[in-house]
Symmetry: C2
Subunit: 149 residues, 2 copies
């Protein structure tokens, strides 16, 4: 069961879409709320399954369309690991991803500004960066594994 967007979230959506001359639609609201509701980096198909619970007529193509629109707006990031299905992440803070090879789960890893700066510094002159992606692979010793969802 997906809760609706808060007024604040809806405004964020509306504002981001407006930048590209696009509008809030019922489908976009549902898809965005799915992403916000459970931040486990779902695949397109997982988003589709979850979104259909609140909007049964929704089509897979529309989920692809919405997600592409959000990425274009900068509202959402794509997360790729090797050749697996693309996953989606609404966390706009700079962060890296850790993919647990035993569970398949993807975790956000906070990325301090100074680390980002260090990374940029390894580029030779003439390389102008638009974005940096960092992904870790491994497994988690889940002793005190706290984290909701």
């Amino acid at each position: 069961m997906i809760q609706n967007l808060t007024e604040h979230q809806r405004e964020g959506l509306q504002e981001a879409l407006a930048h590209g001359g696009q509008k809030v639609t019922a489908q976009r609201e549902v898809v965005y709320s799915v992403l916000l509701a459970k931040r486990d980096h779902p695949t397109v198909d997982e988003v589709f399954q979850r979104a259909r619970e609140s909007m049964p007529g929704l089509s897979l193509a529309t989920v692809y369309n919405c997600l592409e629109t959000f990425v274009g707006c900068g509202l959402v990031r794509q997360v790729n690991h090797e050749r697996e299905s693309t996953r989606y992440c609404p966390n706009l803070a700079p962060h890296a991803h850790f993919r647990d090879d035993s569970t398949g789960r993807v975790h956000d890893i906070e990325l301090p500004a100074n680390v980002l700066q260090t990374l940029r510094s390894i580029l030779p002159a003439g390389f102008e960066t638009d974005s940096i992606e960092i992904s870790f692979h491994g497994h988690t010793k889940n002793k005190t594994s706290r984290h909701s969802n």
Copy 2:
């Protein structure tokens, strides 16, 4: 035109394959020499085209097989950028990749040990890393763009 492997390179190949109980074959030699000859991170298809110049009967499936074998041996790395075709890299030193969005070219970026260490340090307790991938996106101001190939 692909030159043959040096004796040293052939030994590296043989030694790496031996670890998994596998043998050097004519096809594996050709595919590996293609990777060493032009280190521009070719896709499977590009490897295929180049390899066929010295071995016309070679099949695409074999190129996939060889590359997978090399990756399994640790002889070669896979390089993924977004959803594009996988590329292959025989550079075994720790390095990041920079993908020039205007040319599509992928460059190696040397990765100093201390930077790698800094990166590992951002992981919370309980996260055990097997590998880290770093990819930059952007474009290159090609003023004094030197670099053979």
